[in-house]
């Protein structure tokens, strides 16, 4: 490992935010790294809870009810959409930069963007300028989301070569759990700040922006990367000559020329598409499927249960993939998912709420598991040197599924209802299409093979990149 030299040629400490300054000292406990990653992911997971602001934001002028000039839900919907688009774009384009500068600078930049995005949005609410909300939370906050999402993942993979799935599962579980903290916290803050002249959103944005900045910065300051030759005490890399797990490394740009990258892209896209549309429609779907049986309050409980399984699945499935293997884990997602989707309409028709709820809980656990298992899948295929950047580029599949999933569910349902199908039966066609998508995903996953050795970097190329 090299230290830095100043202009006089004397050795000196590297800049605090540089990659070299974050290399851990011998004896550093790798168990300090997951909380650092969680400190970031628990914050950015707030994105899933942004909808709690939608109602109050439609009454910024009228306070108790919407007044002329107040924003509509359609106008506000673009804030979240922009954030997700910029999450995907920043993760895709900043991947190379992330590998170059290391996780501390990336995570701190994410903290500045995400926290700063809230502050700009607060100004937007005060001034009643929607453009500032688009710019603040949508664009700048979205960039913070993308950088924050990918930056700790590759670091964790390097610290836990023996348990890659479990390590990434822990961090990405935080993204699922962040909304569970943010939703009740945001509601409590808005209730605290609301007055005769304010709905309390701007003040809540300021508090959240500062809190998230501090929390993410703590994560950035505590993250460490292992020395290149570090490995867990007593751990010997298993013989992987006959498996898909490589000990070599593929350059981030070279990875994009391999069929494996596009097959895994499709695997993630199809797995996410099958879950994301249901997540957005869960409350309406259970009420329409069990009319006069499930109340709106019970439907909200169903949504909460799905969130828990979405979060838990991220840890449980990714951890089990360390034993099962990534390819087998995705095969389980696609086979079990297709069977459950195929059976769900019959559970609704027969009035079996328990099996209906259980099926969707398992489906959502596999939706979450798909997100958390994929970084380890990429590390197995392409090595760990550029896995952060490759993962970032793969997340474009998430952005694409974010459009495809809800469109499939909403438009097909609307088409069915417009053609005289009863609302309770309108989801049957949708879930059968989901079943077909999962079968396609299963085939794509089957086609994933070990990456050809011609794509591997030589030791000299690797050293030059480092």
């Amino acid at each position: 490992m090299s230290s830095t030299t100043d202009s006089t040629g004397q050795a000196g400490s590297p800049p605090f935010f540089s990659k070299h300054a974050t290399v851990a000292a011998p004896g550093f406990s790798r168990w300090m790294v997951p909380p650092a990653a969680l400190a970031v992911h628990l914050c950015i997971g707030q994105a899933y809870a942004f909808s709690v602001f939608n109602g109050p934001l439609t009454k910024v002028i009228g306070i108790t009810q919407s007044a002329p000039g107040d924003w509509s839900l359609t106008t506000l919907g673009w804030i979240f959409s922009l954030a997700i688009v910029f999450l995907g774009l920043s993760a895709a384009f900043a991947g190379k930069w992330l590998e170059h500068v290391g996780p501390r600078r990336t995570m701190f930049t994410a903290a500045c963007c995400f926290g700063g995005g809230f502050l700009i949005s607060a100004a937007g609410v005060w001034l009643h300028q929607i453009v500032l909300l688009y710019l603040g939370y949508g664009v700048i906050g979205g960039i913070g989301l993308g950088l924050g999402y990918v930056s700790p993942v590759s670091t964790l993979i390097r610290w836990f070569p023996d348990r890659r799935g479990m390590a990434t599962g822990m961090a990405i579980m935080g993204f699922g759990g962040g909304a569970m903290i943010a939703a009740p916290l945001s509601v409590a803050l808005m209730n605290h700040f609301k007055s005769a002249t304010s709905v309390g959103v701007a003040e809540t944005f300021v508090v959240l922006g500062i809190a998230y900045f501090i929390s993410m910065t703590i994560g950035a300051l505590t993250i460490r990367i292992p020395a290149p030759d570090w490995k867990p005490a007593g751990w010997i890399a298993p013989d992987t000559s006959h498996k898909m797990i490589t000990r070599n490394h593929v350059h981030i740009d070279r990875a994009l020329t391999t069929p494996q990258f596009y097959l895994v892209w499709l695997v993630l896209f199809l797995n996410v598409t099958a879950g994301i549309g249901i997540l957005g429609q869960a409350s309406v779907m259970i009420q329409e499927s069990f009319k006069n049986t499930v109340t709106p309050a019970a439907a909200a409980g169903f949504v909460g249960l799905l969130s828990l399984f979405n979060m838990g699945g991220r840890f449980v499935w990714a951890s089990s993939s360390d034993k099962l293997g990534r390819k087998n884990t995705y095969s389980v997602f696609f086979v079990l998912g297709a069977v459950l989707y195929y059976c769900v309409p019959s559970f609704a028709t027969s009035g079996n709420i328990a099996l209906f709820v259980l099926s969707y809980c398992v489906i959502l656990s596999m939706y979450g598991g798909g997100f958390s298992t994929v970084p380890a899948y990429l590390a197995d295929l392409f090595g760990t040197a550029f896995v952060g950047g490759i993962h970032g580029r793969l997340l474009t599949a998430w952005a694409a599924a974010g459009v495809a999933g809800p469109v499939l569910v909403n438009y097909i349902r609307a088409y069915e209802v417009a053609h005289g199908v009863a609302k309770a039966d309108a989801y049957t066609m949708t879930v059968h299409i989901m079943t077909a998508l999962l079968v396609v995903g299963f085939i794509c996953n089957l086609l994933v093979k070990r990456v050809d050795a011609k794509h591997h970097m030589s030791d000299a190329q690797l050293a030059a990149e480092r």
């Binding site: 490992m1 400490s13 851990a24 909380p35 969680l38 759990g177 569970m180 439907a299 409980g301």
Partner: protein, 43 residues
């Protein structure tokens, strides 16, 4: 390690516990809140 002098000291067990508590306490609070709400489905 040449750069060992500008990296961290070894974390103590107490420091490890504080860090884990820092993330697990709010996460547990959120999970309990969500679970309480989810129970309405069975109520």
């Amino acid at each position: 390690m040449e750069n060992a002098n500008h990296t961290t000291r070894q974390p103590s067990a107490a420091r490890l516990i504080v860090f884990w508590a820092y993330v697990l306490i709010p996460l547990t609070w959120g999970v309990v809140n969500t679970l309480t709400q989810a129970m309405k489905l069975f109520g």
